[in-house]
Amino acid sequence: MTLLHDVGPTLDLKEFRLLRDFVNQFCGIYFADDSAYIVERRLRERLRDLGIDDFAEYYRYLQYHPRADAELEAAAEVLTTNETYFFREAYQLRAFTDEILPVVRGRALARGSKRIDVWSAGCSSGEEVYTIAMLVDATGLFEGWDIRVFGNDISRRVLRKARGATYTSASFRAMIPDYERYFIDTEEGRQVHPRIRSMCHFGHVNLMNQRRAAIVGRVDVTFCRNVLIYFDDASRRKVLETIYERLNRGGYLLLGHSESLLQSSTAFEIAQLSTDIVYRRPVPYTELPPRKF
């Protein structure tokens, strides 16, 4: 098995649908029928590792084997890895620093706290987590504050990379020159500065597991960008419920630029910012400031 020669068992449509539904129930990710070849290619690695000859047997393994739970995680791992990069969707990040962070700061101070919590839900290899920490640091609004940025993913492999915090050129395709100072050159690539790394935390959390996601605690802002697009409707709703539960009242949810909540959840309200539209967990009506006429 090389980059050019990728041969192995073939996945027929029936087996594909069975496996697809199985994985979907576990982690919410959904593959349309025309993605069968991607699933086939990615899962071949698992079949080879397990010494299994065909996908029907692999399906049985996932159903009945005593190590099925661990294997399901491994399958989800190879099926869900998605690449990301620093400073992705810069206009949204501008809205975060210019409009959201000052509000979050004000709210924290009002409750007598000097701490903010941000969650990067589905953080992949960690670029978004570090981007958020750098942005917070660069505002200068949070000197001496306790800043916590938590990133989770279902893939242990990408979490290892995230913790290593060392990246190659592909991660810097949208890099903003002002932030170069947050990186140190090493032989393996460019590593995020220890001060930024100290703000960032990672964990292995399946977004479909609401109880496990409670580890995130209450957060002021959640980034869940280009994650829900891979989920089916029911799973998307379930994840949004979790995100809603984890957000402080008035806390913000930032989705990818092509994503919308309109069909998936009514729990959030729309917050119109000057450069972006984001979502917010509503503040109780009674706590809102009186309207100015």
Binding site: M1, L3, L4, I38, R48, G51, R60, T266, T286
Partner: protein, 673 residues
């Protein structure tokens, strides 16, 4: 929540309180007064309206709701209410075409388009008759809405109606139709499309339809669109050209020739797309680059292959390029490792396939690059080098490849295994010799076992036996699987020990291997395995004994029908059916009332072995099952029975079947006779 408190919440000033109240109502929708639904649908907050849509969709008073909503769509100025009403009508309006038609007739010109929009959202084919009239009407807005509605409904009739109006003189309508047919994936014949795309505005949005025609004449339009200032139009045109080239196999050479003399602005657009386009565009551009044998784009194409963006056609087109590609590939030596890995491997393959055309010096150069890269720092390159050695068939390479089997990289070991498997066919003695002292305790133990299994020799069996003592369960499992080739008594006994290995995967492999062996000695360990504490082992043992026609095991397998694990019950039933057990009919009938899908399916398979009338009756029970895969199995088995009764049953099932894949299986099965 009491009704008073609910009423209070519905009138709260806080939209979130109102939203939650409507949400609560939607959890128990029956009995919700229509007026409350309508009020919620006209709420000022979108979130309340969205909850109200879910609530309305569940009402039992559908007719009253439809009447009320049709009136509101026609009369209201509240955009939120109108949109919500249209959405609800889409959900509840199926089978009510008459009500929509009546509402349309009575509606003013400005609002008819909204009613038409709702008709489309019902996806009800009964609406098509009325939409056909509207599409021909004088009101352009209504006609365009009717086009959109037909697209929503879809199907052959809707597509035909749209195609018939493609040459309408009304530009606005023509644009709507082109967009609609594009979304529907319709293949419009060139003769029908050509008049419509004479207009430059229509042409700009017709790229996909042009690509789908498969007609070389469409290329000129597409070349023009590919250089459009809009990146979207340009990208769509490039994807369409790639599709055109794939479709028009008979004219491909002609198309390639035309593309090869295209102007510089086209080439610029094309390279830009190849480097920076989205996945589909890069895929199309990569294919075109290879078809046109554009050496300047080769690195970008290889990047697309490495990124898993290029499709199989592109990789095949690279292979078809022939010996002329070898030198450009070798020039990629300083490219990114992944690109070089693909280049090296492809160059090695092409030099083998075009042996007569490739100078000896070039082959020697490739060979020395491979030898150098076997120790490269990156896994991709080492794997490519190892895989490439298979083209040489040189016995001396076996030792180097065996060394690769000790690599910690899974990828390198897999490539070396594939190369050794190829060599095992051409120079088996050399492979066997190289593996004679192979370290089955190392990381590549399982891979070595895999290669040895291809040798089918006494020496290989002896090496494999050593592997049964490996400390790595993966190796022991692979060795057990590999030993299936040695159908000898002493081997069966050794594998028998593996039935009680401490690792469950080794146990499963042992049970399966024993099931494949002809020797009688395999039966005893398999019978032992029927008592395993692990359900998959009990199941595999039952299946293995069934396959071996070990009828002495019938009583013990019958006992497994009472097992608490569905996987065991299903396997026992399959085994008993293979063994022709006299109690299969009863067991099958019982299985067909079991809640587990696997047991139910085993019931169907067992029922299929019964006399025809009984088989027809029992297998047809699967057609009503809620799981699509169970219905698929029932269809397959009924088609295999192929009696008048089964064909009638399948025809009947087709009428109620909603799953497209299952429908397809019935239709093709019945057609195939």
């Amino acid at each position: 929540m009491t009704s008073d408190r609910l009423e209070e919440a519905l009138h709260s000033a806080d939209p979130d309180v109102r939203r939650q109240a409507v949400h609560r109502m939607s959890l128990r929708p029956q009995g919700t007064p229509l007026i409350q639904i309508l009020n919620a649908l006209s709420d000022a907050d979108w979130r309340v309206r969205r909850e109200a849509i879910s609530l309305a969709a569940q009402t039992s008073e559908k007719d009253e709701l439809i009447d009320a909503l049709l009136v509101r769509v026609a009369e209201t100025d509240n955009i939120g209410l109108r949109n919500a009403a249209i959405e609800v009508l889409g959900v509840v309006g199926q089978g009510k075409a008459d009500k929509f038609v009546k509402a349309c007739e009575g509606a003013g010109e400005g609002v008819r388009k909204f009613l038409v929009e709702a008709m489309g959202k019902t996806r009800d084919p009964q609406m098509i008759d009325h939409l056909e009239l509207l599409i021909q009407g004088s009101d352009a807005n209504v006609a365009a809405a009717a086009v959109e509605a037909l697209v929503c409904i879809g199907g052959a009739r809707a597509e035909r109606l749209l195609q018939e109006r493609l040459s309408t003189p009304h530009l606005f309508l023509r644009v709507s139709i082109v967009e609609g047919l594009t979304r529907l994936g319709t293949r419009v014949p060139w003769e029908e499309l050509r008049p419509a795309v004479e207009d430059a505005i229509v042409r700009r949005i017709s790229a996909e339809l042009l690509g789908r025609t498969g007609e070389p004449q469409a290329l000129e339009f597409l070349l023009e669109l590919a250089t459009d200032a809009s990146p979207q139009t340009s990208a769509a045109a490039l994807r369409a050209i790639a599709e055109l080239a794939e479709q028009a196999e008979a004219h491909r050479a002609e198309l390639v020739e035309r593309l090869s003399v295209s102007n510089e602005s086209f080439r610029r657009a094309f390279r830009e797309a190849l480097l920076h386009g989205d996945t589909a565009t890069r895929q199309g551009a990569a294919y075109l680059a290879v078809l046109c044998r554009d050496e300047n784009s080769l690195e970008a194409v290889l990047h697309a292959v490495a990124d898993d963006v290029a499709n199989l056609e592109t990789v095949e087109a690279l292979r078809s390029w022939g010996a002329g590609l070898i030198e450009p590939l070798l020039m990629q030596r300083r490219s990114e490792p992944r690109v070089w890995a693909i280049s090296l491997e492809l160059a090695a393959e092409l030099s083998y396939r075009h042996l007569d055309e490739v100078p000896a010096g070039t082959r020697d150069r490739i060979r020395s690059l491979i030898e150098r890269d076997l120790t490269d720092a990156t896994d991709d390159v080492r794997a490519a080098a190892a895989e490439s050695l298979r083209w040489w068939g040189d016995p001396r390479d076996c030792r180097a490849l065996v060394e690769c089997l000790s690599s910690p990289s899974h990828q390198v070991r897999a490539a070396a295994t594939a190369a050794l498997e190829t060599l095992a066919k051409r120079v088996p003695a050399a492979v066997e010799e190289a593996l004679e002292r192979a370290d089955l305790d190392g990381p590549g133990g399982a891979d070595i076992a895999h290669v040895l299994s291809r040798l089918n020799s006494h020496g290989a069996v002896e090496v494999l036996k050593r592997g049964l003592r490996s400390g790595d369960p993966r190796t022991r499992r692979a060795v057990v699987q590999a030993l299936a080739m040695a159908n000898a008594t002493d081997v069966a006994q050794l594998i028998g020990y593996a039935v009680v290995d401490e690792d469950i995967d080794v146990q499963i492999a042992a049970v399966r291997t024993l099931g494949q062996m002809g020797t009688i000695e395999a039966n005893a360990p398999l019978s032992t395995a029927l008592d395993s504490p692990f359900p998959p082992i009990r199941a595999e043992a039952a299946l293995a004994l069934g396959r071996r026609e070990a009828s002495a095991a019938i009583p013990r397998i019958r006992a497994l029908l009472e097992d608490k694990e569905p996987v065991v019950i299903a396997a026992a039933l399959d085994a008993l059916a293979w063994l022709g057990d006299s109690e299969v009919a009863m067991a099958a009938e019982r299985a067909l009332s079991h809640s587990d899908d696997e047991v139910f399916q085993a019931g169907l398979r067992a029922a299929h072995t019964l006399p025809t009338r009984e088989a027809e009756r029992l297998v047809s029970m699967g057609l009503q099952h809620s799981a699509w895969n169970v219905r698929m199995l029932a269809i397959k088995l009924l088609l295999a029975l192929d009696t008048e009764r089964t064909r009638a049953l399948l025809t009947e099932a087709l009428a109620d079947e909603s799953d497209s894949m299952v429908r397809h299986a019935i239709e093709t099965g019945l057609l195939g006779g």
